[in-house]
């Protein structure tokens, strides 16, 4: 009776509650390959080529790209393209385009083509093959369209086209690096790209700070709110589905740099040497930190030099003046030294000064791009990349960013789950409650979904799923309940149990011994009686 009821009861009350987690699936996620499909269209505007040329070209292109698609065992890029002749409407646009000598014709054509929206919703990469009379050099447009001149026959375009696709639109090398890095390959040499940008995060806090050490002399004003709306608005809008970016601004008065600039008599200015710049950040850091959210914070600081150190310039390692007087600190933000004219002699103090927000924003927007991980444009000699201008980010750059971040999210969410699974497997007496089980399930299915979307070429959905995956996996990993009962050394367990069991065990053992004796003696009596 005691055994029948007691043992199950004891077993039930002492087992640690652990939800069954999909361990094998998690292990699979970490090793399985990610396939990423890129759709593109080649539109031939040059009327010299007929349908047969086109199909030959299509075959050649396919061969070339298929051979290249295997970036790595763990990451495949599959290029799916079609080649077609230009529609009448498009040819009409081309005719309006003037010859190659006139500037900006490509820019206009690029824009017109985009506005015409002939290819479904402009979501595919498009390459236009233009007659050489209209274009002399490959141009990467602001949206997802590139323009190539048909110098010789179509076959000669295979090489530049696949270069554009593989190294400009889909930056394969960078993509692989972020992917492997997020997966846990941390032993490579540190490099600028991976150190500079913040890791993928659901939200960022951006703070613009105006530092004015002498508000009694200079009343520095900036229209930061308008400037953010005007210059940053489009970027924030473009990124709003993917990341929460909150923007704040503040003015800090009576705070200097913390280091003394060196006077340069030949240039008649003060200079901040390159190697001293890190200490500039240390001095102003206490005024910047956000106490509200846990998002990474990006700080952008405009420093108006005090009158006794003006004009102030930043010098590089060769003692040359910097062109912008600005510097960037990886995963932190940027600083701009903004020199203003000294007030005239008879001015009433404080003298009012207005900052040119375009100049300020040009620098900060470029730094913000780098810090968020938008790859710097690699313009090589034979390709012109049209600047995004006030859009700040071209559509293809946004695609590239999304793709990189999506791969990073997938890899790091899978690595997080793996770490969690390993932790839970190693420590047997840790409780896994239903919430954690649920979050893990959500994360696993979101990773799978994201991979599926990638293999369908649906980048937007893939990113949103991967974001969900990372949020859920982090929530599971950092769940506060995973800490209790982390570790009990064996000797401590004995120390707990012995005072409890020793007093009980002595009479129990003694009585067992005496009962054994008694049974034996009974047997002997039986033997005797026989």
């Amino acid at each position: 009776m005691c055994v029948v009821v007691g043992v199950p009861l004891w077993w039930k009350t002492t087992t640690v509650y652990r939800v069954q987690l999909p361990y094998s699936e998690i292990a699979d996620l970490n090793t399985s390959r990610v396939t990423f499909v890129v759709d593109f269209t080649v539109t031939v505007f040059d009327e010299r080529f007929d349908a047969q040329d086109l199909s030959q070209f299509a075959n050649k292109l396919k061969e070339s790209l298929d051979a290249a698609g295997k970036v790595d065992d763990r990451l495949h890029v599959e290029y799916r393209g079609k080649v077609r002749e230009a529609y009448e409407e498009e040819l009409l646009l081309l005719r309006q385009m003037r010859s190659v000598e006139v500037d900006n014709t490509v820019v206009d054509f690029d824009h017109e083509l985009y506005m015409a929206k002939l290819d479904s919703d402009n979501s595919e990469y498009t390459f236009t093959v233009l007659p050489p009379s209209k274009l002399d050099k490959a141009v990467v447009g602001k949206q997802r369209v590139s323009h190539l001149p048909a110098m010789g026959d179509l076959g000669s375009l295979v090489e530049p086209l696949s270069h554009l696709l593989r190294h400009v639109y889909i930056n394969e090398a960078a993509m692989l690096k972020t992917f492997l890095w997020a997966r846990g390959a941390r032993r490579t040499q540190p490099d600028k790209e991976s150190m500079r940008a913040f890791r993928s995060h659901p939200g960022y806090d951006v703070t613009f700070t105006l530092m004015n050490p002498q508000p009694d002399l200079l009343q520095v004003e900036w229209h930061i709110q308008d400037a953010v709306d005007a210059y940053l608005g489009r970027l924030l809008k473009a990124l709003s589905p993917y990341a929460d970016i909150s923007v704040k601004s503040q003015c800090v008065h009576y705070t200097g740099l913390g280091i003394r600039p060196v006077k340069d008599d030949t240039r008649n200015c003060y200079k901040l040497k390159h190697e001293k710049l890190p200490h500039v950040i240390n001095a102003i850091e206490p005024y910047l930190s956000s106490h509200v959210s846990n998002n990474p914070s990006l700080n952008f600081i405009v420093y108006v030099p005090s009158r006794d150190q003006s004009p102030l310039h930043i010098t590089d390692a060769n003692d040359d003046l910097s062109t912008t007087d600005a510097f960037l600190s990886p995963r932190w933000g940027g600083v701009l030294v903004y020199n203003v004219a000294t007030p005239p002699e008879n001015a009433t103090y404080p003298h009012k000064v207005m900052l040119d927000m375009r100049r300020v924003m040009e620098v900060f927007v470029s730094q913000l791009r780098l810090l968020l991980g938008v790859n710097p444009q690699t313009a090589s000699g034979d390709v012109t990349v049209l600047q995004p201008g006030n859009n700040i980010i071209s559509e293809w750059e946004l695609d590239q960013w999304l793709c990189g971040r999506c791969l990073e999210n997938i890899a790091s969410a899978a690595a997080t789950l793996q770490a969690l699974a390993q932790l839970l497997a190693e420590i047997g007496n840790i409780v896994i409650n239903d919430d954690i089980g649920h979050e893990v399930q959500v994360a696993v299915s979101a990773i799978k979904k994201s991979k599926e979307f990638l293999s369908l070429g649906r980048l937007n959905d893939a990113f949103l799923s991967s974001k969900q995956a990372i949020i859920s996996s982090e929530k599971a990993f950092f769940d506060p309940s995973l800490l209790e009962l982390l570790y009990f050394p064996e000797d401590q367990k004995f120390a707990i149990y012995i005072p409890l069991f020793l007093p009980i065990s002595i009479p129990v053992i003694l009585s067992i011994m005496s009962s054994v004796k008694w049974l034996r003696s009974k047997d002997e009596i039986k033997v005797k009686s026989e």
């Binding site: 912008t324 600005a326 995963r331 201008g389």
Partner: protein, 378 residues
């Protein structure tokens, strides 16, 4: 501890040392990369510090002085308060027994006031528990925890962890109530490593038998130093008669002395710091563990852990933007005719209602509204 756990630890230790050996080889083969510019020299971009004093009561004054010494140094060398987690189990500066209120000194001659002007304690008094400490390291904090109490490190963070208190072989006591074992600590670091919460860790402990605390570490990239060997006591430096208690521990005293000679742009190395307290001064043997650490401590700047020397990069390229007139006030760049012209083209930027601050001292409205019936005096 069971044999199997020991075996496992030993195996994992073997594994990591093997990886370290391989890496050292790789590093040696990549010597031509030595000419890297400043940006690359170390792989971290930010610095954090977790400083813990685990003991309370007046007679443990010296432990508070220890932790404040390190706090003072890292703050002076550039780590901002937002990136320092300071855990102090008792308040010595404002203790009624302190004859010099609001000060904590590093020696009886009142040489350095390590309490300083602004000390931001993140976990104090009974908040200093093993649980909270492990939670801070592993990041498993309740969602309501404010940012200042979190260790928001990433894969590019160098973390300094300093602990002081009363310890024994394999544990450090927290507040006479509980203790953290060396296995728990090692597991916490491993979890940080797995979640990529650090790039490198410098672990420093000043307690009796301190070596035992870093013996069980098995995660890579940890450099550890302890004030004494197993079986040895860590001793205090000297007694202050006005306080009636010992004022600071030997190891930290000499560490502070060394750190006082370091400036943010100093070229002193961790190797020098690890020898800051020889046996004749400390009376205990300072032990160092370098097998998990991939770089040579003699080539690691001390400011890689104690300071916050950020990497910088001049931004010489920028995107050119078209000017968008911000039209509330005429900008300084236009005057006369140019302004008139701008006004014609001006494009008002759409945005919500402008926010305004509430008047903190509404004197005017108070006087206007109340003066009529201002008969009663309060």
């Amino acid at each position: 501890m069971s044999g199997s756990t020991k075996m496992k630890l030993f195996l994992s230790y073997l594994r990591f040392s093997f990886i370290c050996v391989i890496l050292l080889n790789c590093y040696a083969s990549g010597q031509e990369m030595e000419t890297m510019e400043q940006f690359f020299k170390s792989g971290h971009t930010n610095n954090w510090a977790v400083l813990v004093d685990t003991s309370r009561f007046w007679f443990n004054y010296r432990h508070v002085a220890n932790v404040l010494s390190i706090y003072r140094s890292v703050k002076r060398l550039g780590i901002p308060d937002s990136q320092i987690i300071l855990m102090i189990a008792d308040d010595m500066a404002c203790n009624p027994r302190n004859p010099r209120p609001a000060t904590v000194f590093n020696n009886a001659h009142q040489h350095i006031n390590v309490y300083g002007d602004d000390v931001e304690v993140d976990y104090r008094g009974y908040e200093v528990t093993v649980e909270n400490f492990i939670r801070v390291l592993t990041g498993r904090l309740p969602p309501s925890t404010p940012r200042s109490k979190r260790l928001l490190t990433d894969d590019r963070s160098n973390v300094l962890v300093y602990m002081t208190g009363h310890g024994g072989d394999g544990f450090l006591k927290f507040q006479d109530a509980e203790e953290i074992s060396n296995v728990e600590l090692a597991d916490a670091f491993q979890q940080m490593w797995q979640k990529r919460r650090y790039h490198e860790v410098f672990y420093m402990i000043d307690t009796c038998q301190a070596e035992s605390m870093h013996q069980k570490f098995y995660s890579p990239n940890i450099l550890a130093v302890a004030s004494s060997r197993i079986g040895e006591d860590s001793l205090s430096h000297h007694n202050d008669n006005t306080l009636g208690v010992y004022i600071i521990d030997r190891y930290t005293y000499y560490a502070l002395e060394f750190l006082e000679g370091v400036s943010p742009d100093s070229k002193k190395t961790m190797g020098q710091f690890l020898q800051a307290c020889p046996r004749r001064q400390c009376i205990s043997t300072v032990t160092v563990r370098t097998d998990l650490f991939q770089r040579d401590p003699d080539k690691v700047l001390i400011t890689d852990f104690f300071g916050s020397v950020r990497k910088v990069e001049l931004s010489n390229n920028y995107i050119q933007l078209d000017n968008i007139p911000l039209t509330i006030f005429p900008s300084q760049t236009c005057d006369g005719d140019a302004c008139e012209k701008d006004k014609g083209n001006e494009k008002r930027i759409q945005r919500g209602p402008r926010m305004q601050y509430a008047d903190p001292f509404p004197v005017d409205s108070y006087i206007k509204g109340v003066s009529v019936s201002d008969n009663s005096r309060h």
